[in-house]
């Protein structure tokens, strides 16, 4: 029983990781950049939600407003970051872009610490009073249902965008071969911006969900979930959208199981243990393809 309980907790947490992992995987798939600042988008998204919910109070309507507001703001931010920081480095060695991403991350985190209305101290995140449902002796909270529900809706939506729209087709083409896509008349810059926007919007939604589940916001809150989501993306096979979702769930479950049955102190280490394991056993990830550099 305890096991099933932890599984449910894990799936709920994992859905947040999955949302975040999608952002990593899409951006990586197209520009081959590990966007270190993605975890910080989660933080900014959570803060945006925090302001709306503090201002409007917690009702289903205000939750909806919070999601839309936060996802829009972060989507715009995602585009701004891409245009100003990453675009100039698109043809540079990848190590340069990666270091820039670290710079962006440091800037956002510490920028949040010095902005007066955000500040370095943790703030209580306003959330609804959760009702617990007892299903055959297993405790399922309202929060968990909301987290899982919202995540699934967003993932279905993303799936539609990628597989059912013209933009999605362009995204897939660009991810497959950027130069060829450009020659075929696809506006590659627009596609990249769009990808960053979508990734950031999902990250922002993940931020609100994360803050709802662990009701607190602080500038460094995105760091750990960000890293774990990256691990999830690698686990699923970087560039693969279903892989990122599955990876997120696996990671969430692994983490809660460790917390529940081994030691809560080890929970943060598990993600990285999984990372090293997957890289040794199957570096391409569960759904990834082995790619060879063209010689």
């Amino acid at each position: 029983m305890e096991f099933i309980q932890q599984m449910i907790n894990g799936i709920s947490l994992g859905s947040i990781y999955a949302l975040l992992a999608l952002g990593y995987t899409m951006v990586y798939g197209i520009v081959k950049l590990l966007n270190f600042a993605h975890g910080d988008i989660l933080m900014l998204g959570a803060y945006a939600g925090f302001f709306i919910l503090t201002f409007m109070g917690v009702t289903p309507a205000s939750m909806l407003v919070a999601f839309i507001f936060s996802m829009t703001i972060c989507a715009i931010l995602g585009i701004v970051i891409e245009r100003t920081c990453y675009k100039p480095l698109r043809t540079s060695p990848r190590i340069a872009a990666l270091i820039t991403a670290i710079g962006v991350s440091t800037l956002i985190e510490n920028g949040a610490r010095v902005i007066p209305f955000m500040g370095p101290n943790p703030k209580q995140f306003p959330t609804f009073t959760s009702i617990n449902y007892d299903v055959f002796g297993i405790n399922i909270s309202m929060v968990q249902i909301v987290v899982l529900g919202v995540s699934i809706i967003l993932m279905v939506l993303l799936n539609y965008i990628v597989n059912g729209t013209k933009m999605g087709k362009s995204m897939r083409a660009t991810s497959y071969d950027m130069d060829a896509a450009f020659l075929m008349g696809i506006n590659v810059n627009k596609v990249i911006s769009f990808t960053f926007a979508i990734g950031a919007a999902l990250g922002a939604a993940g931020g609100i969900l994360y803050a709802t589940a662990y009701p607190q916001v602080q500038p460094y809150m995105g760091l750990m979930p960000g890293l774990k989501a990256f691990v999830a993306a690698v686990l699923g096979g970087i560039g693969s959208i279903p892989g990122a979702m599955l990876g997120g769930f696996i990671l969430g479950v692994a983490e809660t199981l460790t917390k529940g049955f081994i030691s809560s102190k080890l929970a943060d280490g598990v993600a990285f243990g999984i990372l090293i394991l997957i890289l040794v056993v199957k570096p391409a990830g569960l759904f990834g393809k082995n790619t060879n550099e063209k010689v």
């Binding site: 270091i99 962006v104 440091t106 510490n110 080890l266 993600a271």
Partner: protein
């Protein structure tokens, strides 16, 4: 130039120069020309030089970004501290032990991550650094857990704090010179060229008979060893340890130093590490703004000045002296050079006119 004729000249000049700098810094400290605080900063800068050079070996020369150097330092620091406190080992042995322990960790992380490139390696080393912290927190009977480890005896305790400061400085300075010599000599050898070829193009490298996997692990292990020794010095320098001192942001600091100095430049790293140590102190008045500035600096640096201070070039004392002796800087030479320069400039202007 690497040849036997120059050996004596090179060794003599370099020993002389590093000794003179050493003696000057000692005199300045002894006669309190520079404050005790500045002396402390100088010593800290020396430790930063050591760790940054070790990072440059793997990131600048081998081309593999590591975000786990704070983790390596952490292993070295705790090993050294525990060896001294719990087992009463003398400092040199404790430092070497710290280095060896870290090298073993480097080996353990290096082998499985060999196949990885760039981002994957970066995130794995980062994760590894975090795992180290988790381990240290969990081994609380040995490491003091999250509360930390206190009471690490310092280098000397003579009662006279100027003498203590000088001894502390000497330890760091001498080890720093050794590390510089080791890395410089390694890089300027066949093995070093093999390491650099991996950074340039690993596929071409392996096709030219270089055992890429071996040299990657070699560089990684040596880098870990040096970072571990640096960590050991850090532990003795501060006298206490806790896992929070080795967060991944500290690893980022070393990346900033290496990028600022120029990836693949030893002298660049040395200058950048010293500048960084001082900047860090001066910027303390800005409190939280300090890290905002760092982040911004990193972005601007990569976009507008990706080669850093020195690129992959070196400042060479022996080269400079040789140029002096060859008459490169005689008044006559300088005059011809100046004329050439002016002519060139003139030509450029003409070119623009039409």
């Amino acid at each position: 130039m690497i040849n036997l004729k120059n050996r004596a000249f090179n060794i003599l000049t370099l020993t002389l120069v590093s000794t003179v700098i050493f003696v000057i810094l000692l005199i300045l400290q002894y006669f309190k020309v520079i404050s005790e605080y500045t002396g402390l900063l100088l010593t800290l800068a020396g430790i930063y030089v050591i760790v940054s050079l070790s990072l440059n070996l793997i990131t600048g020369f081998t081309g593999q970004l590591s975000l786990g150097h704070a983790g390596f330092m952490c292993v070295g620091a705790y090993t050294t501290a525990i060896a001294i406190i719990k087992y009463g080992m003398p400092i040199p042995i404790a430092l070497i032990l710290g280095g060896i322990m870290t090298a073993l960790f480097g080996l353990a992380i290096g082998i499985p991550t060999l196949r990885l490139r760039g981002d994957y390696l970066a995130i794995t080393t980062l994760g590894f650094g975090e795992i180290i912290r988790v381990i240290i927190v969990n081994l609380d009977s040995l490491t003091g857990g999250a509360a930390g480890l206190k009471g690490i005896p310092t280098f000397s305790n003579t009662g006279d704090f100027i003498i203590d400061a000088i001894i502390r400085f000497s330890w760091v300075y001498i080890i720093m010179i050794l590390v510089i010599a080791v890395i410089h000599n390694l890089i300027n050898s066949s093995q070093g060229r093999a390491i650099i070829s991996i950074r340039e193009d690993d596929i071409a490298s392996t096709s030219m008979g270089v055992n890429v996997a071996y040299y990657k692990v070699y560089a990684f292990t040596l880098s870990a060893f040096i970072a571990g020794v640096g960590g050991g010095l850090y532990a003795i320098f501060f006298g206490y340890l806790n896992p929070a001192m080795f967060g991944w942001l500290n690893s980022v600091n070393f990346v900033v130093i290496v990028v600022l100095g120029g990836m693949g430049s030893i002298t660049g790293t040395i200058i950048a590490a010293v500048v960084f140590t001082y900047l860090q102190e001066w910027l303390r008045v800005f409190a939280d703004f300090r890290l905002v500035i760092f982040g911004l600096a990193l972005i601007i640096l990569m976009i507008f000045w990706p080669k850093g201070l020195m690129g992959n070039k070196e400042l060479s004392i022996t080269g400079f002296i040789r140029q002096l002796r060859s008459g490169e800087f005689s008044p006559r030479q300088i005059k011809t050079k100046w004329n050439e320069f002016r002519q060139k400039k003139g030509r450029k202007k003409d070119g623009r006119a039409d």
